[in-house]
Symmetry: C2
Subunit: 306 residues, 2 copies
Protein backbone atom coordinates (compact mmCIF):
# COMPACT_ATOMS: atom_id res chain seq x y z
CA UNK A 1 0.00 0.00 0.00
CA UNK A 2 1.27 3.44 -0.91
CA UNK A 3 0.11 6.91 -0.10
CA UNK A 4 -0.36 9.45 -2.88
CA UNK A 5 -0.69 13.14 -2.01
CA UNK A 6 -1.84 15.85 -4.38
CA UNK A 7 -0.59 19.08 -2.84
CA UNK A 8 -2.50 22.06 -4.16
CA UNK A 9 -2.51 25.75 -3.34
CA UNK A 10 -6.04 25.39 -1.88
CA UNK A 11 -6.38 21.76 -0.76
CA UNK A 12 -4.22 18.77 0.05
CA UNK A 13 -5.82 15.54 -1.22
CA UNK A 14 -4.41 12.18 -0.23
CA UNK A 15 -5.30 8.58 -0.92
CA UNK A 16 -4.18 5.06 -0.07
CA UNK A 17 -3.39 3.37 -3.38
CA UNK A 18 -3.11 -0.40 -3.72
CA UNK A 19 -0.99 -2.44 -6.15
CA UNK A 20 -3.72 -2.36 -8.78
CA UNK A 21 -3.64 1.49 -8.70
CA UNK A 22 -7.05 1.66 -6.99
CA UNK A 23 -7.69 4.24 -4.29
CA UNK A 24 -9.01 2.39 -1.24
CA UNK A 25 -9.44 5.48 0.96
CA UNK A 26 -9.07 9.19 0.38
CA UNK A 27 -9.55 12.48 2.13
CA UNK A 28 -8.55 16.11 1.87
CA UNK A 29 -7.85 19.15 4.02
CA UNK A 30 -7.35 22.86 3.38
CA UNK A 31 -3.73 23.74 2.63
CA UNK A 32 -2.24 25.59 5.63
CA UNK A 33 0.44 28.28 5.23
CA UNK A 34 4.13 27.43 5.41
CA UNK A 35 6.19 24.33 4.69
CA UNK A 36 6.18 22.96 8.26
CA UNK A 37 2.41 23.25 8.61
CA UNK A 38 1.94 21.66 5.16
CA UNK A 39 4.18 18.71 6.06
CA UNK A 40 2.31 18.24 9.36
CA UNK A 41 -1.02 18.32 7.55
CA UNK A 42 0.20 15.71 5.05
CA UNK A 43 1.47 13.46 7.87
CA UNK A 44 -1.80 13.80 9.81
CA UNK A 45 -3.83 13.06 6.69
CA UNK A 46 -1.73 9.94 6.05
CA UNK A 47 -2.20 8.65 9.60
CA UNK A 48 -5.94 9.24 9.64
CA UNK A 49 -6.33 7.50 6.27
CA UNK A 50 -4.37 4.48 7.50
CA UNK A 51 -6.48 4.35 10.63
CA UNK A 52 -9.73 4.65 8.68
CA UNK A 53 -8.71 1.89 6.27
CA UNK A 54 -7.16 -0.34 8.92
CA UNK A 55 -3.79 -0.19 7.20
CA UNK A 56 -0.83 -0.61 9.54
CA UNK A 57 2.15 0.13 7.34
CA UNK A 58 2.70 1.88 4.05
CA UNK A 59 5.54 1.11 1.65
CA UNK A 60 6.22 4.61 0.42
CA UNK A 61 4.68 8.00 -0.15
CA UNK A 62 4.60 10.31 -3.16
CA UNK A 63 3.70 13.97 -3.38
CA UNK A 64 2.66 15.86 -6.49
CA UNK A 65 3.46 19.52 -5.92
CA UNK A 66 2.93 22.62 -8.03
CA UNK A 67 6.04 24.48 -9.17
CA UNK A 68 9.51 23.53 -10.29
CA UNK A 69 10.65 20.30 -8.67
CA UNK A 70 14.07 18.73 -8.42
CA UNK A 71 12.74 15.18 -8.21
CA UNK A 72 16.10 13.49 -7.65
CA UNK A 73 16.91 15.77 -4.70
CA UNK A 74 13.30 15.77 -3.44
CA UNK A 75 13.24 19.55 -3.38
CA UNK A 76 10.58 22.04 -4.45
CA UNK A 77 12.88 24.54 -6.15
CA UNK A 78 10.23 27.18 -6.61
CA UNK A 79 6.47 27.34 -6.23
CA UNK A 80 4.60 30.57 -6.63
CA UNK A 81 1.34 29.05 -5.28
CA UNK A 82 2.88 27.62 -2.11
CA UNK A 83 5.46 30.42 -1.62
CA UNK A 84 8.15 27.71 -1.58
CA UNK A 85 11.77 28.23 -2.53
CA UNK A 86 14.20 25.30 -2.18
CA UNK A 87 12.02 23.38 0.28
CA UNK A 88 13.35 19.80 0.88
CA UNK A 89 9.81 18.47 0.97
CA UNK A 90 10.67 14.78 0.47
CA UNK A 91 13.09 14.65 3.42
CA UNK A 92 10.74 16.67 5.65
CA UNK A 93 7.82 14.32 5.04
CA UNK A 94 10.01 11.21 5.16
CA UNK A 95 11.15 12.18 8.65
CA UNK A 96 7.53 12.42 9.77
CA UNK A 97 6.30 9.21 8.11
CA UNK A 98 9.36 6.99 8.43
CA UNK A 99 9.12 5.83 4.81
CA UNK A 100 10.69 6.79 1.50
CA UNK A 101 9.03 9.87 0.01
CA UNK A 102 9.26 10.84 -3.67
CA UNK A 103 8.05 14.15 -5.02
CA UNK A 104 7.22 15.35 -8.51
CA UNK A 105 5.42 18.11 -10.35
CA UNK A 106 1.65 17.84 -9.88
CA UNK A 107 0.84 17.93 -13.60
CA UNK A 108 3.42 15.21 -14.25
CA UNK A 109 1.97 13.11 -11.44
CA UNK A 110 -1.54 13.45 -12.90
CA UNK A 111 -0.19 12.41 -16.32
CA UNK A 112 1.46 9.37 -14.76
CA UNK A 113 -1.83 8.43 -13.11
CA UNK A 114 -3.76 8.67 -16.39
CA UNK A 115 -0.98 6.79 -18.20
CA UNK A 116 -0.84 3.86 -15.80
CA UNK A 117 -4.44 3.61 -14.62
CA UNK A 118 -6.62 5.84 -16.80
CA UNK A 119 -7.05 7.04 -20.36
CA UNK A 120 -3.71 5.73 -21.64
CA UNK A 121 -3.44 2.49 -19.64
CA UNK A 122 -1.18 0.05 -21.44
CA UNK A 123 0.07 2.59 -24.01
CA UNK A 124 3.75 3.52 -24.17
CA UNK A 125 3.46 7.26 -24.55
CA UNK A 126 0.94 9.97 -23.77
CA UNK A 127 0.63 13.66 -23.11
CA UNK A 128 -1.94 14.96 -20.66
CA UNK A 129 -3.12 18.49 -21.38
CA UNK A 130 -5.25 20.10 -18.66
CA UNK A 131 -7.51 22.87 -19.89
CA UNK A 132 -8.18 24.75 -16.69
CA UNK A 133 -7.42 28.19 -15.30
CA UNK A 134 -4.06 27.64 -16.97
CA UNK A 135 -2.92 24.95 -19.38
CA UNK A 136 -0.85 22.27 -17.70
CA UNK A 137 0.82 19.30 -19.18
CA UNK A 138 2.60 16.10 -18.39
CA UNK A 139 4.58 13.99 -20.83
CA UNK A 140 4.88 10.23 -20.42
CA UNK A 141 7.44 8.38 -22.56
CA UNK A 142 8.05 4.65 -22.14
CA UNK A 143 5.60 4.63 -19.23
CA UNK A 144 7.65 7.15 -17.23
CA UNK A 145 7.47 10.91 -16.69
CA UNK A 146 9.63 12.85 -19.15
CA UNK A 147 10.72 16.03 -17.42
CA UNK A 148 13.86 17.03 -19.27
CA UNK A 149 17.44 17.22 -18.06
CA UNK A 150 16.51 19.71 -15.32
CA UNK A 151 13.07 18.42 -14.30
CA UNK A 152 11.20 21.34 -15.86
CA UNK A 153 10.00 20.00 -19.20
CA UNK A 154 6.38 19.72 -20.25
CA UNK A 155 5.28 23.35 -20.13
CA UNK A 156 2.89 22.75 -23.01
CA UNK A 157 0.84 25.85 -22.19
CA UNK A 158 3.86 28.11 -22.53
CA UNK A 159 4.62 27.53 -26.17
CA UNK A 160 3.81 30.45 -28.45
CA UNK A 161 1.20 29.81 -31.16
CA UNK A 162 0.44 33.48 -31.94
CA UNK A 163 3.74 35.36 -32.07
CA UNK A 164 3.30 38.79 -30.40
CA UNK A 165 -0.26 37.75 -29.50
CA UNK A 166 -2.24 37.99 -26.25
CA UNK A 167 -0.23 38.55 -23.06
CA UNK A 168 0.19 35.38 -21.02
CA UNK A 169 0.46 35.20 -17.22
CA UNK A 170 4.06 34.03 -17.74
CA UNK A 171 5.06 37.29 -19.40
CA UNK A 172 5.44 35.86 -22.92
CA UNK A 173 3.04 36.95 -25.62
CA UNK A 174 0.84 34.55 -27.57
CA UNK A 175 1.28 31.40 -25.46
CA UNK A 176 -1.15 28.59 -26.14
CA UNK A 177 -2.36 29.01 -22.54
CA UNK A 178 -3.52 32.57 -23.30
CA UNK A 179 -6.00 31.13 -25.82
CA UNK A 180 -6.86 27.59 -24.81
CA UNK A 181 -7.16 27.93 -21.02
CA UNK A 182 -10.53 28.68 -19.39
CA UNK A 183 -9.06 32.12 -18.72
CA UNK A 184 -8.43 32.61 -22.44
CA UNK A 185 -11.89 31.34 -23.32
CA UNK A 186 -13.46 33.72 -20.80
CA UNK A 187 -11.52 36.64 -22.33
CA UNK A 188 -12.72 35.72 -25.83
CA UNK A 189 -16.28 35.26 -24.50
CA UNK A 190 -16.28 38.70 -22.89
CA UNK A 191 -14.91 40.32 -26.05
CA UNK A 192 -17.66 38.67 -28.12
CA UNK A 193 -20.33 39.74 -25.61
CA UNK A 194 -19.24 43.36 -26.00
CA UNK A 195 -19.65 43.08 -29.74
CA UNK A 196 -23.00 41.25 -29.51
CA UNK A 197 -25.31 42.92 -26.96
CA UNK A 198 -28.21 40.65 -28.01
CA UNK A 199 -26.32 37.39 -27.54
CA UNK A 200 -27.78 34.72 -25.27
CA UNK A 201 -24.39 34.78 -23.53
CA UNK A 202 -25.60 37.85 -21.61
CA UNK A 203 -28.63 36.03 -20.24
CA UNK A 204 -26.60 32.95 -19.32
CA UNK A 205 -24.08 35.16 -17.54
CA UNK A 206 -26.86 36.77 -15.51
CA UNK A 207 -28.27 33.33 -14.61
CA UNK A 208 -24.86 31.88 -13.67
CA UNK A 209 -23.64 35.01 -11.91
CA UNK A 210 -20.51 35.43 -14.03
CA UNK A 211 -18.85 34.60 -17.34
CA UNK A 212 -17.17 31.19 -17.17
CA UNK A 213 -15.55 28.66 -19.47
CA UNK A 214 -19.04 27.16 -19.93
CA UNK A 215 -20.86 30.35 -21.05
CA UNK A 216 -20.06 30.21 -24.76
CA UNK A 217 -20.51 26.43 -25.00
CA UNK A 218 -23.92 26.68 -23.28
CA UNK A 219 -25.15 29.56 -25.47
CA UNK A 220 -23.93 27.82 -28.61
CA UNK A 221 -25.95 24.71 -27.71
CA UNK A 222 -29.02 26.96 -27.64
CA UNK A 223 -28.27 28.25 -31.13
CA UNK A 224 -26.54 31.55 -30.37
CA UNK A 225 -24.40 32.56 -33.36
CA UNK A 226 -22.02 34.88 -31.51
CA UNK A 227 -21.34 32.10 -29.00
CA UNK A 228 -20.81 29.67 -31.87
CA UNK A 229 -18.11 31.93 -33.27
CA UNK A 230 -16.36 32.04 -29.87
CA UNK A 231 -16.44 28.25 -29.56
CA UNK A 232 -15.16 27.83 -33.13
CA UNK A 233 -12.25 30.17 -32.49
CA UNK A 234 -11.52 28.44 -29.18
CA UNK A 235 -11.51 25.00 -30.81
CA UNK A 236 -9.28 26.27 -33.60
CA UNK A 237 -6.67 27.56 -31.13
CA UNK A 238 -6.93 24.36 -29.12
CA UNK A 239 -6.45 22.18 -32.21
CA UNK A 240 -3.48 24.30 -33.30
CA UNK A 241 -1.58 23.57 -30.09
CA UNK A 242 -2.62 19.91 -30.02
CA UNK A 243 -1.37 19.45 -33.61
CA UNK A 244 1.94 21.06 -32.60
CA UNK A 245 2.29 18.48 -29.82
CA UNK A 246 1.45 15.62 -32.17
CA UNK A 247 3.95 16.76 -34.79
CA UNK A 248 6.67 16.99 -32.16
CA UNK A 249 5.95 13.96 -29.97
CA UNK A 250 3.62 11.60 -31.87
CA UNK A 251 2.36 10.19 -28.56
CA UNK A 252 0.12 7.12 -28.64
CA UNK A 253 -2.50 9.05 -26.67
CA UNK A 254 -3.20 12.74 -26.25
CA UNK A 255 -5.40 13.15 -23.22
CA UNK A 256 -7.52 16.19 -22.31
CA UNK A 257 -8.34 17.02 -18.70
CA UNK A 258 -9.28 20.08 -16.67
CA UNK A 259 -12.55 21.98 -16.43
CA UNK A 260 -13.12 22.48 -20.14
CA UNK A 261 -12.77 18.73 -20.75
CA UNK A 262 -16.09 18.48 -18.87
CA UNK A 263 -17.66 19.41 -22.22
CA UNK A 264 -17.14 15.69 -22.79
CA UNK A 265 -16.89 13.49 -25.83
CA UNK A 266 -18.37 16.21 -28.06
CA UNK A 267 -15.17 18.20 -27.46
CA UNK A 268 -13.10 15.29 -28.80
CA UNK A 269 -15.44 14.83 -31.77
CA UNK A 270 -15.19 18.48 -32.73
CA UNK A 271 -11.41 18.64 -32.33
CA UNK A 272 -10.61 15.51 -34.35
CA UNK A 273 -11.57 16.88 -37.79
CA UNK A 274 -9.63 20.08 -37.03
CA UNK A 275 -6.53 18.05 -36.15
CA UNK A 276 -6.65 15.69 -39.10
CA UNK A 277 -5.26 18.07 -41.78
CA UNK A 278 -2.68 19.56 -39.40
CA UNK A 279 -0.86 16.41 -38.35
CA UNK A 280 2.21 14.77 -39.86
CA UNK A 281 1.27 11.16 -39.49
CA UNK A 282 1.39 8.89 -42.46
CA UNK A 283 -0.25 5.49 -42.39
CA UNK A 284 -2.38 3.80 -39.78
CA UNK A 285 -0.69 4.71 -36.54
CA UNK A 286 -2.20 8.01 -35.45
CA UNK A 287 -2.29 9.61 -32.03
CA UNK A 288 -5.62 8.96 -30.30
CA UNK A 289 -7.34 11.96 -28.68
CA UNK A 290 -9.13 11.03 -25.44
CA UNK A 291 -10.72 12.54 -22.38
CA UNK A 292 -8.94 12.06 -19.08
CA UNK A 293 -10.76 9.41 -17.03
CA UNK A 294 -9.60 9.77 -13.47
CA UNK A 295 -10.41 13.41 -12.70
CA UNK A 296 -8.80 14.57 -9.46
CA UNK A 297 -7.86 10.99 -8.60
CA UNK A 298 -5.18 11.08 -11.32
CA UNK A 299 -2.99 13.31 -9.16
CA UNK A 300 -3.32 11.01 -6.13
CA UNK A 301 -2.69 7.79 -8.06
CA UNK A 302 0.17 9.34 -10.01
CA UNK A 303 1.79 10.68 -6.84
CA UNK A 304 1.62 7.21 -5.28
CA UNK A 305 3.40 5.85 -8.36
CA UNK A 306 6.28 8.36 -8.20
CA UNK B 1 33.67 -1.18 -38.67
CA UNK B 2 30.26 -0.02 -39.76
CA UNK B 3 28.98 1.74 -42.84
CA UNK B 4 26.81 4.83 -42.50
CA UNK B 5 24.86 6.06 -45.52
CA UNK B 6 23.17 9.43 -45.82
CA UNK B 7 20.61 9.01 -48.58
CA UNK B 8 19.55 12.35 -50.01
CA UNK B 9 17.38 13.39 -52.91
CA UNK B 10 20.47 14.68 -54.77
CA UNK B 11 23.42 12.68 -53.43
CA UNK B 12 24.14 9.49 -51.55
CA UNK B 13 27.02 9.99 -49.09
CA UNK B 14 28.56 7.00 -47.33
CA UNK B 15 31.36 6.52 -44.84
CA UNK B 16 33.18 3.78 -42.96
CA UNK B 17 32.80 4.60 -39.28
CA UNK B 18 35.02 3.05 -36.59
CA UNK B 19 34.19 2.29 -32.95
CA UNK B 20 35.26 5.78 -31.87
CA UNK B 21 32.70 7.27 -34.28
CA UNK B 22 35.43 8.56 -36.63
CA UNK B 23 34.93 8.38 -40.40
CA UNK B 24 37.95 6.58 -41.87
CA UNK B 25 36.83 6.81 -45.50
CA UNK B 26 33.94 8.47 -47.26
CA UNK B 27 32.60 9.08 -50.72
CA UNK B 28 29.42 10.12 -52.49
CA UNK B 29 27.54 9.59 -55.75
CA UNK B 30 24.55 11.21 -57.41
CA UNK B 31 21.26 9.65 -56.36
CA UNK B 32 19.86 7.58 -59.24
CA UNK B 33 16.12 7.20 -59.87
CA UNK B 34 14.18 4.28 -58.39
CA UNK B 35 14.61 2.06 -55.34
CA UNK B 36 16.56 -0.73 -57.10
CA UNK B 37 19.07 1.68 -58.62
CA UNK B 38 19.46 3.45 -55.28
CA UNK B 39 20.12 0.17 -53.46
CA UNK B 40 22.68 -0.83 -56.12
CA UNK B 41 24.41 2.52 -55.81
CA UNK B 42 24.56 2.16 -52.02
CA UNK B 43 25.99 -1.36 -52.31
CA UNK B 44 28.60 -0.26 -54.89
CA UNK B 45 29.59 2.71 -52.75
CA UNK B 46 30.02 0.41 -49.75
CA UNK B 47 32.22 -2.04 -51.67
CA UNK B 48 34.42 0.67 -53.15
CA UNK B 49 34.87 2.29 -49.73
CA UNK B 50 35.88 -1.05 -48.19
CA UNK B 51 38.32 -1.64 -51.01
CA UNK B 52 39.79 1.85 -50.73
CA UNK B 53 40.24 1.52 -46.96
CA UNK B 54 41.40 -2.10 -47.06
CA UNK B 55 38.46 -3.19 -44.91
CA UNK B 56 37.40 -6.80 -45.49
CA UNK B 57 34.21 -7.08 -43.48
CA UNK B 58 31.71 -4.66 -42.00
CA UNK B 59 29.58 -5.40 -38.95
CA UNK B 60 26.45 -3.61 -40.01
CA UNK B 61 25.10 -0.81 -42.12
CA UNK B 62 22.75 2.09 -41.40
CA UNK B 63 20.89 4.35 -43.77
CA UNK B 64 19.44 7.76 -42.97
CA UNK B 65 16.64 8.42 -45.42
CA UNK B 66 14.35 11.38 -45.95
CA UNK B 67 10.64 10.84 -45.36
CA UNK B 68 8.55 8.83 -42.95
CA UNK B 69 10.38 5.72 -41.81
CA UNK B 70 9.12 2.62 -40.03
CA UNK B 71 12.45 1.89 -38.37
CA UNK B 72 11.41 -1.40 -36.77
CA UNK B 73 10.19 -2.80 -40.08
CA UNK B 74 13.04 -1.21 -42.05
CA UNK B 75 10.59 0.39 -44.45
CA UNK B 76 10.48 3.88 -45.99
CA UNK B 77 6.74 4.45 -45.63
CA UNK B 78 6.69 7.60 -47.71
CA UNK B 79 9.29 9.92 -49.17
CA UNK B 80 8.32 12.75 -51.43
CA UNK B 81 11.95 13.44 -52.42
CA UNK B 82 12.76 9.85 -53.40
CA UNK B 83 9.28 9.03 -54.72
CA UNK B 84 9.24 6.06 -52.30
CA UNK B 85 6.12 4.51 -50.88
CA UNK B 86 6.48 1.44 -48.63
CA UNK B 87 9.96 0.54 -49.85
CA UNK B 88 11.58 -2.22 -47.67
CA UNK B 89 14.95 -0.49 -47.94
CA UNK B 90 16.64 -2.31 -45.05
CA UNK B 91 15.91 -5.79 -46.42
CA UNK B 92 16.83 -4.77 -49.97
CA UNK B 93 20.24 -3.45 -48.94
CA UNK B 94 20.82 -6.28 -46.46
CA UNK B 95 20.39 -8.78 -49.28
CA UNK B 96 23.05 -6.99 -51.29
CA UNK B 97 25.56 -6.49 -48.46
CA UNK B 98 25.01 -9.65 -46.42
CA UNK B 99 24.90 -7.74 -43.13
CA UNK B 100 22.22 -6.33 -40.87
CA UNK B 101 20.89 -2.99 -42.15
CA UNK B 102 19.03 -0.46 -40.00
CA UNK B 103 17.28 2.57 -41.40
CA UNK B 104 16.05 5.78 -39.86
CA UNK B 105 14.95 9.26 -40.74
CA UNK B 106 17.88 11.36 -42.02
CA UNK B 107 17.29 14.25 -39.59
CA UNK B 108 17.13 11.79 -36.69
CA UNK B 109 20.34 10.12 -37.86
CA UNK B 110 22.12 13.49 -38.02
CA UNK B 111 20.89 14.29 -34.50
CA UNK B 112 22.21 10.95 -33.27
CA UNK B 113 25.59 11.71 -34.85
CA UNK B 114 25.81 15.13 -33.16
CA UNK B 115 24.62 13.63 -29.87
CA UNK B 116 27.15 10.80 -29.77
CA UNK B 117 30.14 12.36 -31.52
CA UNK B 118 29.52 16.09 -31.95
CA UNK B 119 28.01 19.09 -30.22
CA UNK B 120 26.18 17.13 -27.52
CA UNK B 121 28.73 14.36 -26.88
CA UNK B 122 28.26 12.96 -23.39
CA UNK B 123 24.99 14.80 -22.73
CA UNK B 124 21.79 12.85 -22.12
CA UNK B 125 19.39 14.83 -24.25
CA UNK B 126 19.56 17.15 -27.25
CA UNK B 127 17.52 18.48 -30.11
CA UNK B 128 19.15 19.20 -33.45
CA UNK B 129 17.41 21.91 -35.48
CA UNK B 130 18.61 22.28 -39.06
CA UNK B 131 17.98 25.72 -40.55
CA UNK B 132 18.15 24.94 -44.25
CA UNK B 133 15.74 25.00 -47.17
CA UNK B 134 13.30 23.60 -44.65
CA UNK B 135 13.59 23.22 -40.89
CA UNK B 136 14.40 19.69 -39.83
CA UNK B 137 14.79 18.27 -36.41
CA UNK B 138 15.91 15.27 -34.49
CA UNK B 139 15.23 14.59 -30.83
CA UNK B 140 17.63 12.56 -28.68
CA UNK B 141 16.46 11.42 -25.24
CA UNK B 142 18.64 9.21 -23.06
CA UNK B 143 21.19 9.00 -25.86
CA UNK B 144 18.69 7.46 -28.28
CA UNK B 145 16.49 8.81 -31.07
CA UNK B 146 13.01 9.73 -29.86
CA UNK B 147 10.64 9.25 -32.78
CA UNK B 148 7.27 8.74 -31.12
CA UNK B 149 5.02 5.69 -31.11
CA UNK B 150 4.82 5.65 -34.90
CA UNK B 151 8.34 6.76 -35.84
CA UNK B 152 7.25 10.17 -37.06
CA UNK B 153 7.99 12.49 -34.16
CA UNK B 154 10.38 15.43 -34.29
CA UNK B 155 8.76 17.60 -36.96
CA UNK B 156 9.98 20.72 -35.18
CA UNK B 157 9.57 22.86 -38.30
CA UNK B 158 5.90 22.02 -38.59
CA UNK B 159 4.71 23.53 -35.36
CA UNK B 160 2.66 26.71 -35.75
CA UNK B 161 4.11 29.86 -34.15
CA UNK B 162 1.97 32.37 -36.08
CA UNK B 163 -1.59 31.07 -36.21
CA UNK B 164 -3.07 31.75 -39.68
CA UNK B 165 0.33 33.11 -40.75
CA UNK B 166 2.49 32.49 -43.82
CA UNK B 167 1.65 29.42 -45.90
CA UNK B 168 4.06 26.54 -45.29
CA UNK B 169 5.09 23.92 -47.85
CA UNK B 170 3.25 21.37 -45.69
CA UNK B 171 -0.10 23.09 -46.21
CA UNK B 172 -0.43 24.44 -42.67
CA UNK B 173 -0.28 28.17 -42.07
CA UNK B 174 2.26 29.83 -39.81
CA UNK B 175 4.64 26.92 -39.27
CA UNK B 176 8.00 27.78 -37.73
CA UNK B 177 9.60 26.51 -40.95
CA UNK B 178 7.82 29.24 -42.95
CA UNK B 179 9.76 31.85 -40.95
CA UNK B 180 12.99 30.32 -39.73
CA UNK B 181 14.08 28.30 -42.78
CA UNK B 182 16.38 29.83 -45.41
CA UNK B 183 13.28 29.88 -47.61
CA UNK B 184 11.45 31.98 -45.02
CA UNK B 185 14.42 34.29 -44.60
CA UNK B 186 14.67 34.74 -48.38
CA UNK B 187 10.95 35.64 -48.51
CA UNK B 188 11.37 38.22 -45.76
CA UNK B 189 14.52 39.56 -47.46
CA UNK B 190 12.70 40.00 -50.79
CA UNK B 191 9.77 41.74 -49.09
CA UNK B 192 12.15 44.15 -47.35
CA UNK B 193 14.01 44.80 -50.63
CA UNK B 194 10.76 45.85 -52.29
CA UNK B 195 10.14 48.33 -49.50
CA UNK B 196 13.75 49.62 -49.51
CA UNK B 197 14.98 50.28 -53.06
CA UNK B 198 18.18 51.91 -51.74
CA UNK B 199 19.17 49.01 -49.50
CA UNK B 200 22.59 47.43 -49.92
CA UNK B 201 20.71 44.14 -50.23
CA UNK B 202 20.07 45.02 -53.91
CA UNK B 203 23.78 45.42 -54.65
CA UNK B 204 24.67 42.21 -52.79
CA UNK B 205 21.97 40.37 -54.72
CA UNK B 206 23.43 41.62 -58.03
CA UNK B 207 26.94 40.55 -56.94
CA UNK B 208 25.83 37.12 -55.72
CA UNK B 209 23.43 36.51 -58.59
CA UNK B 210 20.38 35.90 -56.39
CA UNK B 211 18.79 36.52 -53.02
CA UNK B 212 19.96 33.89 -50.52
CA UNK B 213 19.84 33.19 -46.80
CA UNK B 214 23.11 35.15 -46.54
CA UNK B 215 21.93 38.38 -48.25
CA UNK B 216 20.39 40.12 -45.24
CA UNK B 217 23.14 38.99 -42.84
CA UNK B 218 25.83 40.28 -45.25
CA UNK B 219 24.14 43.65 -45.79
CA UNK B 220 23.55 44.08 -42.07
CA UNK B 221 27.27 43.56 -41.39
CA UNK B 222 27.91 46.48 -43.74
CA UNK B 223 25.51 48.69 -41.77
CA UNK B 224 22.35 48.45 -43.87
CA UNK B 225 19.34 49.32 -41.70
CA UNK B 226 16.70 47.55 -43.80
CA UNK B 227 18.79 44.38 -43.70
CA UNK B 228 19.20 44.81 -39.95
CA UNK B 229 15.43 44.82 -39.56
CA UNK B 230 15.14 41.60 -41.58
CA UNK B 231 17.78 39.88 -39.47
CA UNK B 232 16.15 41.08 -36.24
CA UNK B 233 12.78 39.73 -37.33
CA UNK B 234 14.38 36.47 -38.44
CA UNK B 235 16.17 36.03 -35.10
CA UNK B 236 12.98 36.83 -33.21
CA UNK B 237 11.04 34.11 -35.08
CA UNK B 238 13.91 31.68 -34.60
CA UNK B 239 14.14 32.39 -30.86
CA UNK B 240 10.36 31.98 -30.52
CA UNK B 241 10.47 28.42 -31.85
CA UNK B 242 13.62 27.53 -29.92
CA UNK B 243 12.02 28.75 -26.67
CA UNK B 244 8.97 26.61 -27.44
CA UNK B 245 11.24 23.57 -27.76
CA UNK B 246 13.04 24.39 -24.50
CA UNK B 247 9.78 24.85 -22.58
CA UNK B 248 8.52 21.50 -23.85
CA UNK B 249 11.65 19.36 -23.77
CA UNK B 250 14.28 21.09 -21.59
CA UNK B 251 17.03 19.28 -23.49
CA UNK B 252 20.59 19.53 -22.16
CA UNK B 253 21.70 20.84 -25.57
CA UNK B 254 19.86 22.59 -28.38
CA UNK B 255 21.99 22.34 -31.47
CA UNK B 256 21.70 24.43 -34.64
CA UNK B 257 22.78 23.08 -38.02
CA UNK B 258 21.98 23.71 -41.67
CA UNK B 259 23.07 26.52 -43.99
CA UNK B 260 22.05 29.41 -41.76
CA UNK B 261 24.12 28.01 -38.88
CA UNK B 262 27.12 28.91 -41.06
CA UNK B 263 26.63 32.44 -39.69
CA UNK B 264 28.54 30.90 -36.79
CA UNK B 265 28.95 31.70 -33.12
CA UNK B 266 27.52 35.19 -33.63
CA UNK B 267 24.17 33.55 -34.37
CA UNK B 268 24.27 31.79 -30.99
CA UNK B 269 25.34 35.00 -29.22
CA UNK B 270 22.46 36.95 -30.72
CA UNK B 271 19.85 34.26 -30.01
CA UNK B 272 20.80 33.68 -26.36
CA UNK B 273 19.54 37.03 -24.99
CA UNK B 274 16.32 36.61 -26.97
CA UNK B 275 15.78 33.16 -25.46
CA UNK B 276 16.56 34.08 -21.87
CA UNK B 277 13.25 35.84 -20.99
CA UNK B 278 11.18 33.26 -22.91
CA UNK B 279 12.30 30.08 -21.17
CA UNK B 280 10.83 28.31 -18.16
CA UNK B 281 13.97 27.20 -16.44
CA UNK B 282 14.52 28.02 -12.82
CA UNK B 283 17.94 27.67 -11.25
CA UNK B 284 21.28 26.76 -12.73
CA UNK B 285 20.46 24.00 -15.15
CA UNK B 286 19.63 25.70 -18.44
CA UNK B 287 19.63 24.29 -21.95
CA UNK B 288 22.86 25.15 -23.78
CA UNK B 289 22.53 26.51 -27.32
CA UNK B 290 25.31 25.30 -29.63
CA UNK B 291 26.31 25.08 -33.25
CA UNK B 292 26.35 21.64 -34.84
CA UNK B 293 29.95 20.47 -35.21
CA UNK B 294 29.94 17.64 -37.69
CA UNK B 295 28.30 19.24 -40.73
CA UNK B 296 27.36 16.65 -43.34
CA UNK B 297 29.34 13.98 -41.47
CA UNK B 298 26.65 13.94 -38.76
CA UNK B 299 24.27 12.09 -41.09
CA UNK B 300 26.89 9.46 -41.98
CA UNK B 301 28.04 8.89 -38.39
CA UNK B 302 24.48 8.85 -37.08
CA UNK B 303 23.40 6.38 -39.77
CA UNK B 304 26.26 4.07 -38.79
CA UNK B 305 25.04 4.23 -35.20
CA UNK B 306 21.45 3.27 -36.03
Amino acid sequence: MRIGIDLGGTNIAAGLVDVSCAIIAKDSVRTPAGADAIVSAMADLTRSLCQKAGVETIESAGVGSPGSIDASAGVVVFSNNLHFRNVPLADMLSERLGVLVKIGNDANAAALGEARAGAAKGRESMILVTLGTGVGGGIIIGGEIYDGFNGMAGEVGHTVIVKDGALCTCGRKGCWEAYTSATGLIRMTKEAMERAPDSLMHKITRDMGKVSGRTAFAAERRGDAAAGAVVSAYLSYTACGLANLINLFQPAVLCLGGGIANEGQTLIERLEPLLEPECFDVGERKTVLRLAELGNDAGIIGAALL
